[in-house]
């Protein structure tokens, strides 16, 4: 029987290119690339034409020009004579502040709610469930406005401010607290804190080594807590208390002195934290439930007490499930902080993407800065996440 000669036709028909999987793939990709390039070319061409037509200057030079607008919440020195670049920096810092504070509060609330949701106590688990569903199913923007409305309309005027403790005033102008004024001797306390943290890390490692080799167990947590709190405290006392407090006082219609947390910040911070905490609590619950019950039973069988079981067996395994969605919630919170603009908190979108854009008309430049910053931050976080996931992933097969 003669073998079929597959090479009998030297020429390749065009229609065969489409039948063959590899050549078809190449053709599709080339077409996609051409379409993409045409699309980009179309947009770039239009943009250049439009800019020419409008006679607008382009370039980032305007960042050095004076901004001519004020920002009411400024963590660094800023006035209306400062540049647009400086305004953008203030915006970035404000975003960072509200995102950082939000992440801390959301994590605490979320973990507490997640654990309570799994509690054997029927009432509290139902209560948390109702709270989670109410918070998750109402738009964040609405929650921010609701908090803002409550703070501005329901809290008393500064003259009748609520004072939960001496020097703390809660009014519709915000929350005034004493601000610390650092004296020169304070650096010693900071150094002491650094030394204490380093010592605590070393001691934790040492205790682990000792335990692995000899089985001897140190109360690491208690000793480290004493070290981290105690050492700076002793130095603080030894330096003669190098810290004074600036107390807020009512002068006329507002508070002078101290630090005032403005209503916009409070509304944004509380709404972001509660909203994200509801999502985090669901992640925490899912994570704990993902650890099979056999783990708990096995660890009881080995004689571990319930809190040790939680700390040494359940949590390390649950965290592997909890942390990736947790980080993406942090990312969401940071992106959601752009809703600041709704209550007039001056974050990055409100400063450079809002007022600067309207004043200079440099839409292209301003938006590219805002988009670029968010994108850089997101990509950085997702790179870290991928690295972490690879590190903690279960090694199978």
């Amino acid at each position: 029987m003669a073998a079929v000669d597959y090479q009998q036709q030297p020429g390749v028909k065009l229609s065969e290119l489409w039948v063959d999987k590899r050549s078809r793939g190449v053709i599709i990709q080339i077409i996609a690339l051409i379409l993409l390039l045409l699309f980009i070319g179309f947009i770039v061409n239009n943009t250049i034409n439009n800019l020419k037509l409008l006679g607008v200057e382009t370039g980032y030079g305007f960042l050095n020009e004076p901004s001519n607008y004020d920002i009411n919440q400024r963590p660094i020195e800023y006035s209306s004579r400062s540049s647009h670049g400086r305004a953008a920096l203030v915006g970035i810092l404000n975003t960072a502040i509200v995102a950082g504070a939000g992440i801390v509060l959301a994590t605490i609330l979320g973990f507490v709610a997640g654990v309570l949701r799994l509690s054997g106590n029927w009432l509290i688990s139902r209560l948390v469930y109702v709270w989670v569903e109410l918070t998750r199913n109402v738009p964040l923007l609405l929650q921010i406005l609701l908090w803002h409305g409550i703070i501005v309309h329901s809290l008393p005027r500064p003259q009748e401010a609520l004072s939960p403790a001496d020097g703390f005033f809660l009014s519709n102008r915000g929350f005034s607290v004493p601000s610390p004024q650092f004296e020169p001797g304070f650096w010693a306390v900071v150094i002491a804190l650094g030394v204490a943290v380093a010592g605590a890390i070393w001691f934790a490692g040492y205790a682990k080594r000792v335990q692995e080799q000899t089985g001897k167990h140190y109360p690491v947590f208690t000793i480290n807590l004493a070290l981290v709190v105690g050492l700076p405290l002793i130095v603080f006392m030894a330096m003669g208390v190098p810290l004074t407090l600036d107390w807020p006082e009512l002068r006329g219609f507002n508070f002078r002195g101290g630090v005032t947390v403005r209503p916009e910040f409070m509304a944004l911070w509380l709404a972001l934290s509660f909203y994200t905490a509801a999502f985090i609590s669901e992640n925490v619950r899912a994570g704990i439930q993902a650890v099979s019950h056999g783990q708990t039973e096995a660890s009881y069988a080995l004689g571990l007490r319930p809190n040790w079981t939680m700390r040494l067996v359940i949590l390390p395994q649950a965290l592997r499930v909890i942390i990736p969605p947790l980080i993406s919630q942090y990312l969401n919170l940071t992106k959601n902080s752009s809703l600041a603009i709704a209550v007039g908190y001056m974050d990055i979108v409100a400063t450079i993407g809002g007022i600067s854009l309207n004043q200079t008309g440099r839409a292209l430049e301003c938006m590219s800065i805002v988009l670029g910053l968010y994108l850089a931050f997101s990509l950085f976080i997702s790179t870290v996440m991928n690295w972490y996931n690879k590190r903690v992933a279960l090694v199978e097969r």
């Binding site: 964040l140 609405l142 329901s154 839409a363 938006m367 805002v370 988009l371 994108l375």
Partner: protein, 373 residues
């Protein structure tokens, strides 16, 4: 003495089972186990009861007992009762529902809404009578809705600037949901494709969209799009928003679907190839039905997110319920009643989003085939 005589009536081992002790059955047992099982639990229970006591009565008082539904202004409200002033919602109800849609054309919105329900039923319930016919109707519904809402075919034209209120929310939400699912699936397939260039394009698109907040994208739509289009092109603001919202949630759906695709064992594809199925048949008949089933919770979550995000359009000047409330609150007759309005809007969103999440749970249970690994 009498007890002893009763016991003696039974031969050993034949005594009928006695009921458990009172403390170990019924409501008392339940309360002991679920509310007061340990000192911590007792504290938690008492705390919760106090919390309920502190929140519920004042809230009911404010929302229902002392609230006012019928008043002409804020001051009249406050004279009639100390609770919520729902009168503002009653007086402006039509505006909250239709925005500035012309009054004589509002029947079209109502009809579109009723038809929307009719179009949704065959999709959501597979036991609907005449389901095939219903699905055909669902397929043509977008076209009908377009002509009903915007006009044409003999109906008067209505500008999209007149759209507002809950009807705007529904328009953006439903369009976004309907358009983003197929786009998201295509993006997910592109991201998993063997074709390098296609994959790179999809990855860049997805990562870009997911990396920036929706607000900035809406800003791009409202400020930058004019630069990108040929000079003199007019582009409806609502249409721009619809496109942006669709692209935004498509990127998120793509990631959810990718997760589902990754969970399907490679053997499924290999078996399909061995049977001689083409790429699209393999995807459409073998992989996607399984992958989508796994992705349902994530997809519905994305839909809920999109639906909630429709409120952001207020920031670029569209009059969704929040945008309208700013206008209503600017009226000196009604100033300071933001809480009432926001609670009303929140209720609307809560009901729709909660219904969606419940449906997703129902669907998950229905499609559960017991192959869970």
């Amino acid at each position: 003495m009498s007890e002893q005589t009763v016991e003696q009536k039974y031969a050993p081992g034949t005594h009928p089972s006695l009921p458990p002790p009172v403390a170990d059955r019924g409501a008392i047992k339940w309360v002991r186990e679920n509310l007061f099982s340990s000192p911590t639990n007792i504290v938690l229970t008492l705390l919760s009861i106090y919390l309920l006591y502190a929140i519920i009565p004042p809230l009911v008082d404010w929302m229902l007992i002392n609230s006012v539904f019928d008043a002409g202004s804020r001051n009249e409200c406050w004279e009639k009762g100390s609770g919520a002033c729902w009168a503002i919602v009653v007086v402006r109800f039509d505006q909250f529902v239709y925005g500035f849609y012309p009054e004589e054309e509002r029947w079209r919105v109502i009809l579109a809404f009723l038809l929307l329900i009719a179009a949704l039923v065959p999709i959501l319930y597979d036991k609907t009578p005449f389901r095939k016919l219903g699905l055909v109707f669902s397929g043509v519904y977008p076209i009908i809705a377009y002509f009903l809402l915007w006009g044409g075919l003999g109906l008067a034209h209505v500008e999209s600037a007149k759209f507002g209120g809950f009807m705007l929310t529904l328009t953006i939400g439903v369009t976004g949901i309907v358009a983003s699912l197929p786009l998201g699936i295509l993006l997910a397939l592109g991201r998993r494709s063997d074709l390098l260039i296609l994959r790179v394009i999809c990855v860049c698109f997805i990562e870009f969209i997911r990396g920036v907040p929706l607000i900035t994208l809406l800003f791009v739509a409202s400020t930058l799009l004019n630069y990108f289009l040929p000079p003199g092109t007019y582009f409806d603001l609502l249409l721009r928003v619809l496109i942006m919202v669709t692209l935004f949630s498509a990127a998120y759906i793509a990631e959810v679907v990718r997760g589902g695709l990754q969970a399907i064992p490679k053997g499924q594809t290999e078996a399909a190839q061995a049977l001689g199925l083409s790429y699209w048949k393999n995807m459409g008949l073998i992989i996607l039905p399984q992958a989508l089933k796994i992705s349902i919770p994530g997809i519905v979550n994305t839909f809920i997110g999109l639906y909630k995000d429709t409120t952001l359009v207020v920031i670029i000047g569209l009059l969704d319920p929040i945008g309208l409330s700013q206008a209503v609150l600017a009226d000196s007759k009604w100033q300071g009643l933001s809480t009432e309005i926001y609670v009303f809007i929140a209720l609307f969103f809560f009901v729709s989003c909660f219904a969606m999440s419940r449906y997703s749970i129902y669907l998950e249970k229905k499609l559960e085939t017991g192959h869970k690994r």
